[in-house]
Structure formats: structure tokens, C-alpha cells
Subunit: 508 residues, 2 copies
């Protein structure tokens, strides 16, 4: 490195810098005759695989509408049975059911694999192809996509993973790893009850060596992204109600003329919220809110600086239409660092009284908001909520109720040095792919339930393929790729390679 | 008054203290053979009058749903024609139509009379009798009420007034006063376009000597209330939008993880609102907001102190369930004074982002609220809104938009000494009724469009009869009264007496 600056090094070496593949690994494992045979099988069965994806997408599973979720769980359980899982059962929760399934092919190594099979709702008239028909259509710049609610998030990828597994079994008789599947039917509702799905199987999950996902990980330009963790999320409703306060309207809204002589829960909630942040809304003023935060590790810093050097502002290319400036005058580089390493306090929703057209002159008896705070190491959900509670109490707002919502996902972190990450990187390396490696996603997921105590599994995702418009209309999953983006066949083939790479990777 | 304290005087003399009826007035005018004959006619035609009320109530006129309002206007116009109005026409506005009608019986005196013929919406399944069927039902403690949307607010009373007028004409050939009717089809929408109904007729309205209403004015206990004015109301939506601000999400909500690096219109609206009021939400901190307020007149003070002495806490009896304490530790007496003489700043509604069940983690691109401020002499709507604008600008919130909503009713005031008020008081006096006289209502109405320049008419309402549950389900108008409350016949008879009393009252 003598003649290179640190920046040059980062620019040129990129992800490869983080890979230490064993000598000959790519040729021995990833180019083996078995894998070539499986790849051909996938090519030959493409139409059946597309049909399987369509079948799964045509079964609705909209958790917020309670529409079809249990039927979809039964369908998925059937798939697990069909591929030869020795256990496959619906798991009751206080909400919608989850699924446990166990494929045991007698392999030396067992992985944990997560699936979410519920979807967002949809507004059918906004779609160019009906969201439950899962038609294969042209969608420029792609020749063929399957368009449906859940196409990319995540029922299309679920079925692609199962297609890949079934192809391996068809050719080789069994998978190179055993898999414990735990599946969530309430992800779009914040995975509120997902811990109840895991609880009965914790002892068996301890047999796993890694938590591995595989599926489409490319964006529209073909760039592969790898997230080595997630932020946590503390979410809650805060409500000021006249009855709890003992002031203002006690039961129902009152005529707004009464404001001249009556206290207002609306003003009170506003004062309480206002006390939590700096005048610009960007600095959290809750005592001790940042105390638990530890500085980024050297590895995290290296990964972030690599990202900044390689991509800079391009990281936010897809948000350019909707974002003009970052908070606090930050550059894109600053923004990337804060997005990954900083906590936040957001108001997701706010409501009180009359919100329709024109006027209805009332003094409402209550005011409510939803907040969420993204958490980084070593903040945790309940402690941060307790700090908010203490802040309200200290400032005289002890009557304001805090109702925790969502699953309270904790942050999750896996080292780039973990064997499962190295195995996925080796697959990318073989294909000349340099993934954008984030030390953690800015978003949240139940991943910590696998990566933190008691399971402590390293976690990683990988694969090629692309889909988009998750949560929006015209959600799609690419069947036939283009120069930049891989299609379904390559996606399933990358899943196969990832499973074999990890199965054969020397344990660290 | 030598042996009475001021308080005793107020307690015993009550409303009578404010009446200076001409000698022999009650016997000469109110007990005349003509009136006795009209009263009998009303008694004899009670069933037809009830049927007329039912007919009018069965024609929907829900302005917020745009349901039947124009058909209802046509029906009312037909009633004016039928009673012999020389003009009766629908008046186009930028919203729903109003009505102008002119009854000219050649009487020396002409009055202005306001009607609102639109109603609130309804939720039919919550009603014990269908809201558009206008059935006559028993509703304890009343033997017979007509139950319908609009029964008391205000289609029942409109038709009762017309029944009374038609009875006079049937017996006497013509009314004792000429009447200019101006009618509002958007009262429940804030009378936004009502000035457009009045504008073409302003010159003719200048012929009027008073603005007189007559109809049911009793509460459930039989107490008659008389309001000698209204407060004004400045109402507006305040909105913070990322695009106007140039910060935060510019077009659509963004993933809430972005709060770590992006400004939030929600926090900004909260900071802006918070700056407007004291920590307890009860003192308006907008510069000069109170400057225009003048102290109550001697008459207003006298009226309020009389109310306080006579009724005290009973004024708020109907609110006891919903109100535990008044703002600032005020007694009921303090509350009555502030309710009438003080301005206010209220948040009627507040909304942003996701407000449904569970979570949707977004950073919304905008936040909005509805505010209203009740105004007293000499505040006026546009000046107070301008002060709010100036406050926002001064505090760095110039991007926050203020959108005026509603009709912007100004305050209205009439002296108890006005002949039209004295005429109504003489009718009460004759029946031994002591009305609760408020210098002004805490609420607002378009009344100022008659009582302030250019018309400057004194305004007054009066009459017996009762109805209730306006804006709620099971809205009713009493047909057969009880010991406390008058029924429809007495209601219509009181309308007759009020018209004759004013027609014969010596001009001041």
C-alpha cells in the first residue's frame, strides 16, 4: 500500500479487501459439476418456477386487512412439506400465525432462514396489472417481470429460494445444509408477535451456525447491496387525554368556544413533544438519550468510509426527487455516517379532533402521535422508552401515556469476518461483483432475535436479481434481466451457490 | 333599591330589570282579539303544522355531503311563494345556493329574518328513529317529539315560523311586519359564501329596522335564553410542507429511518404552534393579540353579573359530565366572564402521516392543523389572522402556510335597550318568563353581517319551545310539552306574539 493513499486504497480495493477466500475455493466448490448440473436444471425448469411464484403471489396475505394470511401460511407450510421438511407447522401467536419448518438432510451444518409471507395492502385501481393476478408483463427497461403485491417483498423471493432448494434436491437428493425456517406473518405490522414464533424452537435453533438469507439483492442499476445488520426501533404512541390529565374535556370533544375557559390536551401534547427536541427538530434533548451509544468499531468505520469513497452522493440517487438538503447542512458523506451511526426521534403520525374538509369547531378531549426512534449499539428499546417516560415525568407530563407499538426490534450486527459473510463474498467475487457493504441498514427488522443472545448467530444475505416498488403500486420481480440486472434463473443459481459456498466454507 | 344590596336586586329583578314596556302594552297588543283568534287557529291546525314540519324534514339537506341541499332550497322557496312573498328566489354562490324572499304586506315596519336550511350529516344506525323519516315519537320526558336530522337545527323551527306566519295571514289577511328572508344553505360549513347571498340585496335590506328571529328558545328545564350577540371566529389551517420549507421530504413521505439525517415538517409545526401559547396552553403569546380588545360595557357587565347571581354554576350544568375544572383554577363565575369577554386560541384538529392501527414508519412531508380563535370587540378576523402571520414570520416560520377557512364571522352586539329586544322581553314578561340574557354567545354566527356596517340592525331572538341533540343522533323538536317546556302550539303562538309586539313597539 506504499504508493496508495488510504482513499485510493478504499476506492480500488472495495469489497474485495474484506474477502479472504480459501485457496482454490471458487474452482473446487462453485464450479463443481454438481452445481453446473443444478444450474442447468434451473434453466430447464424456468417456466415451472415462474408458475410457482405466480401461484404463491395469487394467494393474498395482507396482514393489516387480515386477508388470506392464514391460507397463505398453509400454502407455505405445504411447500415445506413438499420439499421434504421433517417438521412443518403453523405456530400460534397472539396475532396471526407464524411457521416453523425444519429441513434435515443430515448435513454437517445447519442454517437458520427467515421468511416473511405477509404483504402490504394495495389500492387496485392504481396498478397497471391487477395486484393479485401476478401477471408476467413487460415493464421497461425489463422485458419480463412478474407484477403483484408481494412480488419482491417478499413472496417472490421466498418462492425463488424454494425453487432453488427443490432444484438442488432434484439433482443431488438433498441440500448441502440443513435449514430451520422461521416465518413471520406480521412483518408489515412490525413483527409484534414474532418472538412467540421463535420461543418454542429456541433450543433447536441453537444448533444453527449462521442465519443466512439468499435472494434478489440488486438495485435497478445492478448494484448488489449487503447489510451486515440493522438499527433497532423503539416505537410508541404518546397520548394526552383530558381524563388522565384531569383537565380539559374529560370524555368527548366540546364546543371550541370553550377554549376560552378550558385546558386543551392538544396544546399539552404539543408542549410535551416540543420539549423533546431542539428548535430545528434535529437534536434529541431527552436526558441521557445518547449515553448508551458506543463509537463505531474500526471495521464499521472502514466499511462506511469505503462506501463513501466508492459511491458518495450516488448512495442517495433514488431519493433525489424527494430530498433537497440533508439536516444540519450535512454533505452526503456526513449523511451516510449519521444514517448508520446515529439515533433519531421521528413523528410518524399525529392526530386529534376534526381533520376533514372545512371546519368542525371542537376542542378535542385527546391528542395522539406515533413516534419512532432508531437505535444503534448499545441503545436498547425498553431503556430508550424509559428515558422518554422519565423526560415526560420530569417535565410535568406524567399523565401523558406511552403505549409501545410494533415488535421493538433491537439493533443487529455481524462482522464482515464471519464465515457466513465470507462465503457470500466468495460467490460475489467469483462473478466479479463488488457489493456495497453496509455495516448496518438504516431500517429495522427482527434480525436481532437471531444475532443477539441467546442465539448469537452471525447473519448475512446475498444473491443477485432485482425487484422493486415494495409497498407501492406495480410492485415487481424481474424474470428476464438486462445487461445490469440478473433475471430469475441467475437469482436462483446465486442462491444455490451461496448455500454450497457456506456449506463448504471452513468454520472460523 | 335602598334596602336591597346590588346582589339582591340582581337576583330578584333579573331580566325584568331590563324591560321598559309601554304602559298597557301587554293588554292592548298581546291580549288583543286578533291574537287570540290567531292562537285558536294555531291550536286547530296543529296536525297540519306537524305534517308540514315532517314534510320539510323528510327532504334531506346535508351540506357536507352535498345531499339534497338544492332540492331543499327549492322546497323552501315554494313555501315563501305559498305564503305570498312578492319575491322568492335561489341565490347562486360559489358554493351551495342561498335564498332571498321578501314578504311585503304593506306594514310600516320591515324586519330581516335569517334561516339556515342545511343540516349536519348523520349516522343512521345510531338513531332510534330513522333521521330522514321525521316520525313523531315518545321521548321521555316528552310525550311527543318529532325526531329527525334538522328537527331543532333548524328546519323544524323554520317551518314553525312559517306555520305561525301562515296562521296570521289566514286570520288577519297579512303579517303585521314585512319580512326580508335571507337563507343560508352552508351554515354547517361555516357560512363560507353567505356574504354572496346578502350582497345583491343589501340596498333593500337597509329598509329593515331590526333583525328578528323567533322560535324555540327553551332548554330542557324550560329556561329561556336570549343571546344579544355572538363572538367572532377566525379559523384557519396551518400547514408546514417540506416543499415550501425547502427542507425535509419534498414530495412524499420518506422511510422514517431518514429522520437521522433529514428535517421534519412535523417537528417544525410543533415548534411553531408551541411558540404561540404559554406552557399551560392558556395564554396567547402572539404579539398584540389582545390589543384590540375593549373592556366590557357597563351594560354587558350588568348582564353578566346578573347571570352569575341568578345561575352561578348551573350555567354549566349540562357540561358537568365532561368538565371537571376550568382553566387557570377559575370559579364558575370567572369562567362565565372569560367565556363571554375573552378571546381564545384553539386547535380543532391536527394531522400528519400515518394515523391508523399499528405502525407505518414514515417521515411525513407535511403536517397540518386547524385552529380557531374566538373574537370579542374590537378584534376582527383578518387583523387577528394577520397577527398570527406576523408571529410566524417573526419567529422564522414564514414558510408555514395559513389558509383561512369558514366564513370568518365577526362578533356581533345588540343593546338590551334596542326596541326589538324590548319587544321580545315584553312577551316574556307577559308570560312571567325571566330569560337568561347573555350579552353575547360564546359561539359564532353570520349575525354580524346584519348587525354591523353597513346594515347596523339590532338583532334579537325569542320564543318558547324546545328541541335538542343538535349535531348528535336522535335530534328532536318537542311537539307536546310538559310542565317545564312548551310544545309546538305555544312555540308558534310565541312567534305570533313576538311579531305583533315588535310591530307595535314604539320606535326608540
Amino acid at each position: 500500500m506504499s504508493s496508495l493513499t488510504r482513499k485510493d486504497f478504499l476506492k480500488t480495493a472495495a469489497a474485495a479487501a474484506f474477502l479472504q477466500a480459501p485457496r482454490g475455493f471458487a474452482a473446487d466448490v462453485l464450479d463443481s459439476p454438481a452445481i453446473r448440473k443444478i444450474h442447468r436444471h434451473i434453466e430447464q425448469h424456468k417456466q415451472e418456477h415462474v408458475a410457482k411464484i405466480q401461484e404463491f403471489l395469487r394467494q393474498p396475505s395482507v396482514s393489516s386487512w387480515n386477508m388470506g394470511v392464514t391460507d397463505c401460511a398453509e400454502m407455505l407450510r405445504g411447500y415445506f412439506k413438499a420439499m421434504g421438511c421433517k417438521e412443518a407447522e403453523l405456530v400460534k401467536t397472539d396475532g396471526l400465525p407464524g411457521i416453523w419448518a425444519w429441513y434435515d438432510g443430515g448435513a454437517p451444518r445447519t442454517i437458520s432462514h427467515y421468511m416473511m409471507y405477509d404483504t402490504q395492502p394495495f389500492e387496485e385501481k392504481r396498478w397497471s396489472s391487477p395486484p393479485l393476478e401476478a401477471r408476467v408483463v413487460k415493464m421497461a427497461p425489463f422485458e419480463q417481470v412478474v407484477m403483484a403485491r408481494g412480488a419482491i417483498n417478499s413472496k417472490g423471493p421466498i418462492r425463488a429460494f424454494l425453487n432453488a432448494c427443490e432444484s438442488i434436491i432434484a439433482v443431488e437428493g438433498k441440500l448441502p445444509v440443513n435449514i430451520m425456517f422461521t416465518c413471520d406473518g406480521e412483518e408489515e405490522q412490525g413483527s409484534t408477535h414474532f418472538h412467540q414464533v421463535l420461543a418454542p424452537y429456541m433450543d433447536r435453533l441453537k444448533m444453527c451456525k449462521a442465519h443466512l438469507g439468499a435472494g434478489p439483492s440488486q438495485n435497478r442499476e445492478g448494484q448488489v447491496t449487503m447489510m451486515l445488520g440493522t438499527k433497532g426501533i423503539a416505537a410508541a404512541e404518546l397520548e394526552c387525554h383530558g381524563a388522565r390529565w384531569g383537565r380539559g374535556p374529560q370524555k368527548v370533544p366540546i364546543h371550541s368556544s370553550r377554549k376560552a375557559i378550558l385546558d386543551s390536551p392538544n396544546w399539552r401534547l404539543i408542549k410535551a413533544l416540543s420539549s423533546m427536541v431542539s428548535p430545528d427538530g434535529n437534536k434529541i434533548l431527552i436526558d441521557n438519550y445518547h449515553d448508551a451509544i458506543v463509537p463505531p468499531t474500526e471495521e464499521e468505520t472502514m466499511l462506511i468510509e469505503t462506501l463513501i469513497s466508492r459511491f458518495g452522493e450516488k448512495i442517495f440517487a433514488s431519493e433525489k426527487e424527494n430530498v433537497k438538503v440533508w439536516a444540519n447542512g450535512w454533505s452526503a458523506a456526513d449523511a451516510i455516517r449519521h444514517l448508520v451511526f446515529d439515533t433519531s426521534l421521528n413523528i410518524d403520525g399525529l392526530w386529534s379532533g376534526y381533520t376533514g374538509p372545512g371546519m368542525a369547531t371542537i376542542l378535542p378531549e385527546k391528542a395522539t402521535c406515533k413516534i419512532d426512534s432508531r437505535l444503534v449499539p448499545n441503545q436498547n428499546v425498553d431503556d430508550q422508552l424509559a428515558l422518554i417516560r422519565r423526560h415526560l415525568d420530569k417535565n410535568g407530563f406524567s399523565d401523558i401515556e406511552i403505549r409501545k407499538i410494533g415488535g421493538g426490534d433491537e439493533w443487529s450486527r455481524t462482522s464482515v469476518k464471519a464465515p457466513v459473510v465470507q462465503a457470500v463474498l466468495s460467490v460475489y467475487k467469483k462473478h466479479g461483483i463488488e457489493p456495497a457493504i453496509w455495516p448496518r441498514a438504516a431500517g429495522s427488522s427482527p434480525q436481532a432475535q437471531y444475532t443477539r443472545a441467546p442465539l448469537n448467530l452471525p447473519a448475512c444475505d446475498g444473491g443477485v436479481g432485482h425487484g422493486g416498488r415494495a409497498h407501492s403500486d406495480d410492485e415487481y420481480f424481474v424474470i428476464d434481466g438486462n445487461q445490469r440486472v440478473s433475471g430469475l434463473v441467475e437469482c436462483e443459481q446465486s442462491i444455490v451457490e451461496i448455500l454450497y459456498a457456506y456449506a463448504n466454507w471452513p468454520e472460523g
